[in-house]
Each structure stands twice: as structure tokens, then as C-alpha cells.
Amino acid sequence: MRSLVPFVVMLVVAVAAFYLFPYNLAFLTRVVITMILVLSLDLILGVAGVSTLGQAAMYGSGAYAAGLFAIHVWHDPLAGLAVGAAAGAVVAFVSGLFLTRAHGLTLLMLTIAVTEVLQEIANKFSAITGGTDGLGGIRMGRVLGIWKFDFVGRTGYIYAVCVLFVVVVVLKIVIGSPFGLALRGIGDSPARMRAIGTPVTRRLIAAYTLSGAVAGLAGAMAAQSTALVSLGVYDFQLSAEAMIMLILGGTGRLWGALIGTAVFMTVHQVASSVDPFNWLFVIGLLVLAVVYAVPRGLLGLPDEVKRLLRRLK
């Protein structure tokens, strides 16, 4: 029963946000989509311990795939999501074949390079992708043939929240499965896992592919909700910010990804609307505060406070 509590909290927060900020639904939808992206990062980085700065590679590919699919094939949203997820999975699988063998700085640089190559490809094939103008003219059909995407973004928000729920449930099940436990073991010590007979590289490729599918799903949602795909979906900054949000919230437990994203994006939004020129100060200080003060993220904050109180006694 206790494991259901976070889901109830999530539902309450999602519903409350819907009624409290009816004029910010576009922003809220963006937050929910980013949560899905950060969740995908939590699987590969938080659980399996693969440090990557290239999550945008799968996110962007999912966005372009879903956008092109909607324009040329079928404008059904759910089919678009499937296509986006498939594109993310393919990109992750192919790049994962060599990425999962690298470590440290080399791994970081390779993940960045893959993203940059994809961005450059999208830029060069402007006849298909729209290049720097972006891929416009995406028109979405009704969700399940019933709910129409409205101008205020009500449908978009509810749709995104539903997808987020499904993703969280699926990832919870995956993390709790033997496969998930093997990943956690690899995150702690790949050598030990190899010694007890786990095929480490194969597990990592599988995890990276799954993570890529979820990231591609997030990209597809972004393409559908904004009806535009720009080259920015492959930006390095996106991968870096996803990592910041994840560590801010706390890695490896999924809920951290949700909390970190909500906090980071809210701070970002408020700071940049209060002072559009100097908000980067706030973000920089926030990031440093996380590293120096709460290294285990906001999820670790209660433990940290408890320890402090015990010391005071």
C-alpha cells in the first residue's frame, strides 16, 4: 500500500496544478514532458551509472520522427508516440553498441559527439527536416479519436500527465525486476557484476535502448504539443539541463527526477521572468548549492536534516 502513496501525491499535484494555473498549461505541459526526459536519464544514469551528456540525441530523434510521421503518414497522437519511442530506441541501440564500452570523459565526449552529428544531419537535410527554420505544419488528430487538442492546452496537459503516469509505472516495474537489480549492481560495480556472471555490456545496451525509447517518447510529446520541431531538440544544453534536474532531485529512485524537474523549471521560469538578463546567476548558484550542500539531491534532504538534528542532540 505504501508504494501507492507517491502515485496519489503525483495525481493530486497534477490535478491541483491544472486548476491553480489554468493560464500556464503550456508551461506545465513542458514540465511534464521534461520529466519524462529526465526519467529516461534516471534509468541509464541514476540506476545503471552510465554518465551521459547525450540524452538529447534520442529526444531529438523522437521529436523529428513523430513530427515527420504526423505530417506524412498519420496524425494520430498515440501512433506518433510509438514512432517517436521507436526512433529513440533505434538511435540508442546503435550508438549504445559502442558507447557502453567507454568510460569517464571519453564516454561523455562520445555521447556529445553523437548528438552533434545528428543535429548536423538534421541541419543538412533541410529539405526533409526544415533545417534551421524548423519542422512546421504538424497537425495532430484527436487523442484516441475523442479529445481534440485545444488552444489553451487542456488536452495537451492531461494527455502528457497520462503518458507520464504510464512511464513512471513501467519504469518502476523495470527497476524492481531482476533486470533492474542487475542494472543497479552494474551501477555500483561493473567488475563485481561481471564476476558473478552478468553480461554487463548486453544489459547496458538493453538499458540504454529502453532509456532511449523513453527519451524518444518525450521528444515525440514535445513535437506534438508545440506542433514544431527545431534543431534545438538536439542542443547540448538540453542534455546538460536534464542532468542538472536529475541530480538536483536525487538519482536512482525516479521520484527525484520528477521533483528535480519541477523545482528546476519553476526556478528557471520565475528567475527568467523576474530578470530576463541575469537569471543565469540564480541557476548557477542553485546548481552549486546542490553539489556542495545536498549532494544526494532533494530526495536526500530529509535524511540530511535528520542527521543534522541527531548531531545537535
Binding site: L108, A113, Q237, L280, F281, L288, V291
Partner: protein, 286 residues
């Protein structure tokens, strides 16, 4: 033939700039095991200070550059103490995160003080002309860059291979624990090396402003470029980053001359291949 010579000339000049900025990064990363994403920030600070000294204080270029260099070196010492020392012992991720935070603060500071527009560094007359090489003209500025690059590599070689400080530095890179046991003050070595790296980055930033123009977002824009040099060259290897910087500089220039339509794809593919073949870098140790 002349195209080839042009590619070599421009590529080597570009590579020298890359080397100057990145070499500090490779040494500090090899020494302190810190994935430092903020290194380009020191290059930007060097350029920004120079711009300010020339525009507002009216100093001539050599003086302004010198003052900026000194300012960056002085600034880097307390920064290392306050921001970097706590993260040496942390994992890779907190390091990446912390140094991204530092980068953001640097960008925000320059943005706050000087705005987000281009911070130009007008060159003095002696450096701004062009030299006729027979088959083409070369901006005189590039000759200064080449000269400075050669000076830096020779100077670093002497410093690292021939001085007492160099011996201690190499010992600390090889094994900080053992070095400390032998009575080497590794904390001081860290500080000095960090300051040296920041100073070299500033020098590269100032001299390279023609090729990599300075503005507030410089550290983010070129972050990947500098890190590539380090990764390809091998962490902690000065010679490696020299070879990598020249190779990447020539490669990138060649791609621009010969296949202008492919853009930066070539650069990143080359990096993927090089890192795929030698994951620890060209001259890095496993």
C-alpha cells in the same frame, strides 16, 4: 598544392589556439581528476578583461593583454580554493554539475558587467596587417599566434621536464598519495597548476579572439571543442593535447576548405573514430 599549404597554415594556426586554451585543461584534469567544464570561462575572462582594459581604460593591446592575463591568474587562485577543492574527491557527476554551475556564474557575471554583445579586441597595427607569402597572403596575426604557440610548448616542455616544479608536478599526476607521502605539497602544486592553466587559457582566448570571438556565452559555445582536444589527446598528456589540437585544427580547416557543405559533421565523426580506436586518448595512459 597551394590549397594544401593554405590548409596546413590555417589549420596549424587554429590548432595552436586550441592547444593554448586546452593544455591547461588537460594538465588540471590529469592532475586533479576533475572533469572541468568551466575551463573555457578563463579564456573568456581573459578576452573580456582585455576588451575592457582597451575600451574603458584605454590601454594599448600588449599592456591590456598582460593585465588581463595577470588578473585571470590572480582570480583563479581563490576560485580553485573555494569552488574546486571540495569537488576533487567527489564523483564524476557532481564534478560535471559543479563546473557547469561555475560556467553559468562566469557567463552571468560577464553578461551582467559587459552585456551579451561581441567583445571585440582590436589588434594593434603591427599585428593587423597581412604578410605576402607568394602564393597567398596570411594575416600577420596568425604569425604571432604560431610564435606564441611554439613559445608555450617549448616553455611547458622546459617547465615540466627540466625544473623541480615539473618533477613534483609529474609525481603528483602519477600518484598524488605517494607524492604527498614524499613531502610534496600537492595542495600548492594544484593551486599553481590551476593558475598556470587558467593563465594559458586566457592567453589563448585573447590571441584566438579573431578565430573564436569573445562574448558572454563563449564558455558554453566552445566547451565541447576544448574538451574534445583533451579527450582525443589523452587526459594529462601535454604532448597528446598538442598533437590532438594540431590534428583537429588541420582536420577542421581541411573540411571547411574541401567540403564546406558537410559542416562540423566531419569534426565529430573524426572524434568518434579516434575515441573509438583509442578510448584513453592518443597519448593517454589507460
Amino acid at each position: 598544392m597551394t590549397t594544401l599549404a593554405s590548409i596546413l597554415l590555417d589549420g596549424v594556426a587554429y590548432g595552436m589556439i586550441l592547444f593554448m586554451i586546452s593544455v591547461g585543461l588537460t594538465v588540471t584534469m590529469g592532475l586533479m581528476r576533475v572533469v572541468n567544464l568551466a575551463h573555457g570561462g578563463f579564456a573568456m575572462l581573459g578576452g573580456a578583461f582585455t576588451h575592457w582594459a582597451m575600451m574603458s581604460a584605454g590601454l594599448p593591446f600588449p599592456l591590456a593583454a598582460l593585465a588581463a592575463l595577470i588578473a585571470v591568474v590572480i582570480l583563479s587562485v581563490p576560485m580553485e580554493r573555494v569552488f574546486y577543492r571540495p569537488i576533487y574527491k567527489m564523483g564524476e557527476l557532481p564534478q560535471v554539475l559543479a563546473t557547469i554551475g561555475i560556467t553559468f556564474l562566469m557567463i552571468a557575471s560577464v553578461n551582467y558587467a559587459m552585456g551579451s554583445s561581441l567583445l571585440s579586441i582590436p589588434l594593434p597595427k603591427v599585428m593587423s596587417g597581412a604578410v605576402d607569402l607568394g602564393f597567398r597572403t596570411l594575416p600577420t596575426h596568425r604569425l604571432y599566434v604560431l610564435g606564441a604557440g611554439v613559445l608555450v610548448i617549448v616553455g611547458l616542455f622546459v617547465l615540466i621536464e627540466r625544473t623541480r616544479f615539473g618533477i613534483r608536478l609529474r609525481a603528483a599526476v602519477d600518484h598524488p598519495g605517494t607524492a604527498a607521502c614524499l613531502g610534496i605539497d600537492t595542495g600548492r602544486i594544484f593551486s599553481l597548476t590551476f593558475a598556470l592553466g587558467a593563465g594559458l587559457a586566457a592567453l589563448g582566448g585573447i590571441l584566438g579572439a579573431e578565430l573564436l570571438p569573445i562574448d558572454a556565452y563563449y564558455p558554453l559555445r566552445y566547451m565541447i571543442l576544448f574538451l574534445t582536444v583533451v579527450a582525443v589527446g589523452g587526459m594529462g598528456s601535454v604532448a597528446g593535447s598538442f598533437v590532438a589540437a594540431l590534428a583537429l585544427g588541420i582536420l577542421d580547416t581541411a573540411a571547411r576548405y574541401l567540403f564546406p557543405e558537410v559542416g562540423t559533421i566531419f569534426f565529430y565523426l573524426a572524434m568518434i573514430v579516434m575515441l573509438g580506436l583509442r578510448p584513453q586518448g592518443l597519448l593517454g595512459r589507460a
